[in-house]
């Protein structure tokens, strides 16, 4: 009952935020509201028992996509132009579609109904089989990494393609010097705190990476947190210093290496006489084999994701800083 209340209030707040986002003109304000929207929806996911989704949404929505959106707004304009005419046609389309969809919900099983068709078929099997065959407490991880390993491979490939696409479109401009922005030098508090936090964030990323079998987490989230740590460092000390830790060339190699680790696990299991991505073969004991396989592919996912996000960030920021000196 209490959860229902929190759920309903959070949904109401989300709706208000959605309307405000549509109405506002200033793009920076809209970006801030999107960040709040993402935080709210992540807490809603926790209420609705989807902890893995909540972790991903927190790391992606509130962190990386806000930062990237800000970088985009910084490269383009801040203010949205007023529309020239009244949007009557879109309004009509939207209201009609919405009404049809709401009419469609009238036949749906009610929220929280344990006898809904969705709960009767595949899901109970996964819940029963996971403890015996895979031995991993987190069923979402076992579904993602083991039962549906092919899907996750496809997903990693998509992320890799995205990274390659950004690389091709934005490219990367090398910088002649370590531009030490004077105002960065002034932010003493930020720099000290960053020094304190940077190792802790990386440590926490490793925890999320290898604890994903037992709690919420996994390779993707860990990769994002890892990249966020480096982005924090770049914000406090400038991009040049980060590139000394993790140069661009290394990132490109990492991006490929993650995908190759994933595929390599599949090929290894084929060489040992199983099917592609059949982890049972990897060790003498099937459960140990599953553990090993899941750990390795999660590692591959983590490496690729971290590299791709950092590549996107480098691409955006190296542009942003390059522009002003050209007209001086």
């Amino acid at each position: 009952m209490e959860e229902h209340l929190i759920n309903n209030v959070l949904l109401g707040l989300l709706m208000m935020t959605g309307f405000a986002i549509v109405r506002m003109r200033s793009l920076l304000a809209v970006t801030m509201l999107t960040s709040i929207y993402s935080l709210l929806s992540a807490s809603l996911f926790v209420v609705l028992d989807a902890v893995d989704v909540a972790l991903t949404e927190a790391a992606i929505g509130a962190g990386i996509s806000t930062i990237l959106m800000l970088a985009t707004v910084a490269l383009t304009t801040d203010e949205e132009k007023a529309p020239r005419h009244k949007p009557l046609l879109p309004l009509f389309v939207v209201v009609a579609t919405g009404a049809a969809l709401i009419y469609g919900t009238l036949d749906m099983p009610h929220y929280g109904d344990p006898m809904a068709p969705i709960h009767l078929h595949v899901a109970p099997t996964y819940l029963h089989v996971t403890p015996e065959e895979i031995g991993v407490p987190n069923v979402v991880t076992s579904v993602l990494a083991s039962f549906r390993g092919y899907d996750t491979l496809g997903e990693v490939t998509v992320i890799f393609t995205a990274g390659a696409g950004v690389l091709a479109l934005l490219g990367y401009r090398t910088r002649r010097r370590n531009s030490q922005n004077p105002e960065i030098r002034k932010m003493v508090v930020l720099r000290v705190i960053t020094k304190l936090f940077f190792p802790l964030i990386l440590l926490f990323a490793l925890y999320v990476q290898f604890h994903g079998d037992y709690g919420p987490g996994g390779g993707f989230q860990a990769g994002v947190i890892f990249a966020t740590g480096f982005i924090l460092y770049a914000l406090a000390y400038g991009l040049g210093n980060v590139q000394r830790i993790i140069p661009y060339r290394t990132l490109r190699i990492m991006m490929v290496a993650g995908v190759l680790i994933y595929i390599g696990v599949g090929i290894e299991s084929m060489l040992l006489g199983g099917k592609f991505l059949e982890y049972r073969i990897l060790a003498d004991d099937p459960v140990t084999g599953q553990h090993l396989g899941i750990m390795l592919i999660e590692l591959g996912v983590g490496i690729t994701v971290a590299a791709v996000i950092l590549i996107i960030y480098y691409g955006f920021v190296s542009r942003q800083h390059q522009e002003p000196p050209e007209d001086t």
Binding site: M187, L190, F197, L200
Partner: protein, 104 residues
């Protein structure tokens, strides 16, 4: 866990809730950015700290408390750093505080 710890944890939780409420009212009602910053720092430090302390007492000696201590540790460093950076950015952007002009 004794009843005394239980009561103490509830005192902490409800006290934290009071501070959060005060901070929320402050954010809505205070007249300009700098005073609102002050209101947020009330809920960021005392409010969050007391709520987390109450939860720690509920958790007892376990992994849960270790994680809560970590969250607390992160919060007491990040909160003031963010507020400080925010205030400095606003000052540099020459945001004027609201001042009472009347003669004393």
């Amino acid at each position: 866990m004794g009843a005394a710890v239980h009561i103490l944890s509830w005192i902490c939780l409800l006290g934290g809730a009071c501070f959060l409420l005060v901070g929320a009212i402050g954010v809505l009602r205070l007249p300009d950015f700098y005073t609102r910053l002050h209101a947020v720092s009330v809920s960021d430090t005392m409010g969050a700290g007391l709520v987390l302390a109450g939860l720690m007492l509920q958790g007892g000696l376990s992994m849960v408390t270790v994680k809560l201590v970590l969250i607390f540790y992160f919060m007491i460093f990040t909160g003031p750093t963010a507020t400080h950076a925010l205030a400095e950015a606003a000052l540099q952007a020459k945001l004027k505080p609201v001042v009472d002009d009347r003669e004393p």
